[in-house]
Amino acid sequence: MLRPGFSVAALLLAAFAVLPSELWLGLMLGALLAALLLRSRYQESFLLFVGIPGLYRFTPLLSLGAIDGESLLVMFTEWAILSAALLCLGVVLSGMDSDKRFAPLRAVPMLLLNPSGLALAGLIGAQLLWTWERQRPHLDLGAEHKRLILAALLIGAPLIVGVAGLPRLALPSVTDMTRDLAEDPSIVDDDWPYPDAPEGTPQPETHFAPAEATPWSRAADSITQGALNVALLIGSLILFGFTILLLRHHPWRWRKPKDLLPALSLFLSLAMLITWLALNRPGEGGEEMAQPGEPPLAPLGDVALPEAVEQTLPSWARNLASTVSLVTALIILVASVLVAFLLWRAWRWSKEAEARSDTRTTLGVKAESKPPEDRIRRAYQSFLHDMYARGFGRSFWESPRRYAERLGDARAELQDDLLTLTLLYESVRYGERSRDEDADTAERLAMTLPQHFIQATDPVEANT
């Protein structure tokens, strides 16, 4: 059984294998966090609301390479204090919410306090979706978690690399900035002469001594930019494959939050592919990026246009390079949230499946990964779905007969038909008999009975 700890460890190992040494400190902190959270009673809060935002915020900063130790210490201290405070709040709120029905509430103070608000918002959204799903009637998830873990791992590894390379794309490196400042003759020191400087002291040539690019930092530039390039392409292809995988089992209904996953996955896949193509147009950024020792990014979209034409373009088109960078950053951010969501869901499902396989009884049901083959069972399943959509869903602990009685109380004239459908289903499901001769009756009842129940304006609210 693939445990969540292994997933985290595998991601970290993959990151160690491909990332430059500057990032190792951040990743070691991440590994420490992961180890702590997996031993913690409140690992869910820790992982989602402290660990991941911390990594998100801290790791890219480290990748700037030329950052000094003091700044690093300040950033780390700030983040550690915030995280500790947030963890305390999370633990307090978790304790108040012992049945975890209001798990998203735990994130509220964290959202207010943590500077990584955007990433948090995405994670909270994911948790909201999950909580919403848990309150619905029981959903047999089967072995789907294994597929999701694999998908998340495949997508996650290149994305981590991509996130690490993000500052290289969106921002100039510290080395480049200091070199540019040093070489720009228009920059003058407005404060000169300094009040405490002895008279006659010559003005220093520049206060912006260029940082020397070390072989390590040049290698880091090259690796992270190359990794970003690869991440975009591989991530796009994997997401596309994942979309196809999702669509194969898709019910083609749009009632549940997870039904939107294929659309989201397809969108991200296409967006990443388009971005990769934009970055790799012949003769532009893509070729230069892979050259070690070169400046990190060649100008993108720097097409020579007549000035009159250029003036008519919108600002995003005039600054195509920045726009592409920004879009890339957003795509990677959204994809990261998706990966976190997939990993989290897979983790939860694996825990449930493990409990089922350990005792075969925790949930009282056998995992069924495919729809029933029997026509009567399929008809009854369709009946349940339709009734749920109308706000008359079955409670997960309710037996078919008790459910039929409840519905019969609401519509007395349907009692006989409801009982007939239920009896047919019971004899097939629990009596394990073949009732092909009655399948037509079951299908007719399953189709017509829900039509007698008025559609609720808010089915989810009605079902809860």
């Binding site: 005792t359 409670s395 602990w397 009596g431």
Partner: protein, 309 residues
């Protein structure tokens, strides 16, 4: 077939006991499942009458023992007496078809324990010699609530031998009025005649064992049992024996309903009568007024029923 058999029996019993249709069904199901019944309620609610009318309707050899604090185990199991130059075993009241152990919690734990072997293994060992009991052997014990004066709490091992604990409760106003009318001149118990016989009962018991239990329902049943073990406020959950008895009881209820397969409702319906008396609640939970029945209601509402998702 069992459904028709039960219909006749239920009619006969209902002529004497009014407004207790559900309780009667549970008691008959327990007998079909080869279990023993513990009827618990305050005095005067018809516990003894129910046992007697059942015995009469089933035409079983019937013995009634009024258990008292000074009763000895040998008063139940029997004793060897010296007669004609040798020791001759004189069987006690336990050698019967249906034993009514009235007010079982008024006798000492030692005498209560004398019933253990007979109930569990359907045999009695007296003076080193083991003697089997006839089939069927059914014990219907009645007890007053433990809080009442002069009662001894039944040991857990003894409680575990009872398949079901059933509380009769007071009859409803209409049933009580009907009872007053019916019993004004003659007690209907005196008119009860046998509606079935021992062979039919044994045959029905055999059929119950053949009621189909699907794998998913067996898992559901076990999920309920396991849930009782870590339920809040419970210090001792249901035993594996309880799981076996729950399955058999649910099979009997399915058979009485005319089905040869189990449905979730059978398990749900059998859960409280079969498991409630086996649960030990924590001291704090008892102080807070939590009952085993309430715990089991929660358990029922926390385990998903195996239905298409």
């Amino acid at each position: 077939m069992i459904a028709r058999w039960y219909e006749t029996l239920e009619q006969s019993v209902s002529n004497v006991i009014s407004g207790k249709r559900e309780e009667i069904e549970l008691v008959v199901a327990t007998l079909l499942a080869e279990g023993h019944v513990l009827l618990e309620d305050v005095p005067g609610t018809g516990k003894t009458t129910l046992a007697r009318v059942l015995a009469a309707s089933l035409e079983l050899p019937f013995k009634r023992v009024q258990l008292t604090p000074d009763m000895l185990p040998s008063d139940l199991t029997g004793v060897s007496i010296y007669a004609g130059g040798e020791f001759v075993f004189r069987p006690g009241p336990i050698f019967t078809g249906l034993l009514l152990a009235d007010e079982i919690n008024r006798t000492t734990p030692k005498t209560q324990s004398a019933l253990l072997e007979a109930m569990a293994e359907r045999q009695v060992t007296v003076e080193g010699q083991t003697r089997p009991l006839d089939k069927p052997f059914l014990v219907i014990a009645t007890q007053n609530p433990v809080e009442m004066e002069g009662t001894y709490r039944l040991p857990e091992a003894q409680l575990d031998r009872f398949m079901c604990r059933i509380r009769l409760g007071y009859p409803g106003p209409e049933a009580e009025l009907e009872m007053l009318t019916r019993l004004r001149e003659q007690h209907p118990l005196e008119r009860v005649s046998a509606v079935t016989d021992r062979k039919a009962l044994l045959d029905a018991q055999q059929r119950v064992t053949r009621v189909k239990v699907s794998d998913t329902l067996a898992e559901y049943l076990l999920a309920l049992i396991h849930k009782t073990r870590d339920a809040e406020g419970v210090s001792l959950g249901a035993s594996p024996r309880a799981a076996l008895m729950l399955q058999r009881m649910a099979q009997a209820l399915a058979a009485l309903a005319g089905r040869d397969y189990l449905i979730p409702d059978d398990v749900q319906r059998a859960l409280i009568p079969v498991v409630a008396h086996r649960l030990m609640l924590e001291y704090e939970a008892r102080l807070e007024g939590l009952s085993a029945e309430a715990v089991l209601e929660r358990v029922l509402q926390s385990v998903p029923v195996p239905v298409e998702a």
